[in-house]
């Protein structure tokens, strides 16, 4: 089994526990049932020995998730994950065919397209309803199932592709990552609805993850892991913590809002900052203009993050304590990320 995916699975279990304990507005039973099902499905994606089985488990999980209901119709919920499975199945088949080299490159394109559709990234953003409950929202899918799924798909795909197709795979990941970064950070800044802004901010973070996966050197992989850490144990619990204020439409600008905004923007000393430094270092080693583009793109996080920090409202009681815990975890991971890397064998 992949140590990186197992580590992310543990983090996903931890965020479910945090949501159950610290999120006063969430319906606990629904969160436990759907979160537990999602956790089991995600664990199965990691536990099965081959990529074919991981894809089949994804299909089963997508059907169960879509059938469990929500504000979006069944067809809308199922469509993109099922399309992802079709794309991944075709990509796997192409990677196994004997024939011209172009087939392996088509496989690389299919794998990246399937990955984007499975997680819900540009150009396959899942339909979003701002009023949907937390447990059935695509935001939770992107941050709960997505990290483990993407890690499994990327690591297992690499064994299927030749060196040439592997290079194409990395290049497509970086290209799609840059598009997601720009789309997500600009969307989080300019979109009218604050809940939609939260969704776009996840997409922007995923852009960094794709760029990290695409840089096939150690710094890139470490950066991808750290950004996934910030998605699972930073952005997701903060989004869940902001849901009550989003419903009440309360925007405040107190110190806690600014601290949360700094964590969301990846400022020092949070884990997001360490991830960005690693990503820039990795990009500089490979091709310095890429580091320039990444650096400029990272500046776009700031306006959206200030907006999202304000949307947290004025947290009180357990919710405030939960936010302090999440910020502290992110700062600790930013100051000393080595245990995370060694647990993931990176």
């Amino acid at each position: 089994m992949l140590p990186e995916a197992i580590e992310l699975l543990v983090l996903v279990a931890a965020v479910l526990a945090i949501a159950l304990v610290f999120s006063p507005a969430a319906p606990r039973r629904q969160l436990l049932v759907r979160g537990g099902t999602g956790l089991l499905g995600t664990a199965a994606i990691v536990a099965v020995p081959t990529i074919d089985l991981s894809i089949l488990v994804l299909l089963g999980l997508a059907v169960v998730d879509a059938a469990a209901g929500g504000r979006r119709p069944f067809a809308v919920r199922l469509r993109l994950p099922a399309l992802a499975v079709a794309l991944l199945a075709l990509a796997l088949a192409f990677s196994r065919f004997a024939g011209p080299d172009a087939l392996a490159r088509f496989a690389a394109v299919g794998l990246v397209a399937g990955l984007a559709a499975a997680v819900g990234l540009v150009p396959y953003l899942h339909a979003f309803d701002p009023e949907e409950g937390a447990s059935s929202s695509p935001i939770v899918w992107i941050a709960f199932v997505g990290p483990v799924l993407a890690t499994v798909l990327v690591w297992r795909s690499r064994g299927l592709l030749s060196a040439d197709a592997g290079a194409a795979f990395g290049a497509i990941l970086i290209g799609l990552g840059l598009i997601n970064m720009a789309w997500g950070s600009l969307g989080a800044w300019f979109t009218a609805n604050t809940a939609a802004a939260w969704r776009y901010s996840f997409v922007a973070d995923w852009g960094l993850v794709l760029c990290g996966f695409g840089l096939t050197i150690a710094d890139g992989q470490r950066a991808a892991l750290l950004v996934l850490f910030t998605i699972v144990l930073g952005r997701l619990p903060l989004y869940l913590g902001s849901r009550q204020a989003l419903r009440e439409k309360t925007d405040t600008e107190r110190p806690v809002n600014l601290i949360v905004a700094a964590v969301l923007a990846g400022s020092a000393p949070s884990a997001g900052f360490a991830a960005r430094v690693l990503l820039l270092r990795g990009a500089t080693q490979l091709y310095w203009p890429l580091a320039l583009v990444l650096g400029l793109g990272m500046l776009l996080w700031l306006p959206g993050s200030l907006r999202l920090g304000r949307s947290l409202g004025r947290p009180r009681g357990r919710q405030a304590f939960g936010i302090v815990v999440v910020v502290a975890i992110n700062v600790l991971a930013g100051l000393y990320p080595l245990p995370l890397f060694s647990a993931a064998s990176l």
Binding site: T50, V63, G69, R79, A89, F97, A98
Partner: protein, 179 residues
Amino acid sequence: MIEGASGFVAWLGAALIVLADGRRGLAAGIAVTTVGIAALVLEGAGAFDAAIITAAGIVATIPGLRSGEEWGLMPAGSTPRLILCIATGLLALWLAASITTGSGVALRFAVISVAGLSGTRILAGDSSPVLLTAVGALAFAVAASAGLSSGSPGPWPYAVAAVIAGGSAWLRPRTANAA
């Protein structure tokens, strides 16, 4: 000869799923797909794995046939779907027989055509029975593509695909609500 016919039958089943709107027509589609894929699995993986696929196909077919609804095959306005089925079949045949090399042409043809057609059906469909039938066919295609790998995949891909195809046919999704 039998292998080639099995690949054609698998494509025909997926084409029926694309062309049908009624539950009986969809059930006929998954049944025909099952026959094609199971025959290919029998050839490549063995009788036990083929039996798993066959059993799942039977389980997936029953609710549609018992529904009492119409067949709904090729309703008015389905000409674009027919063209899609033929074009996908020709493209899959070209890829499997002309572009790629090695044995297993029928399996390659079946995987490309069934995955392509069921994926398209999922994208274009709106009703739950259509989507769930296409999901069943897609699961069979994913399991069959495991047979293209150099090593033996064992019975697990077929077993998981069987659970998905058989289970989804009996699933009654909740309708959209304000929760």
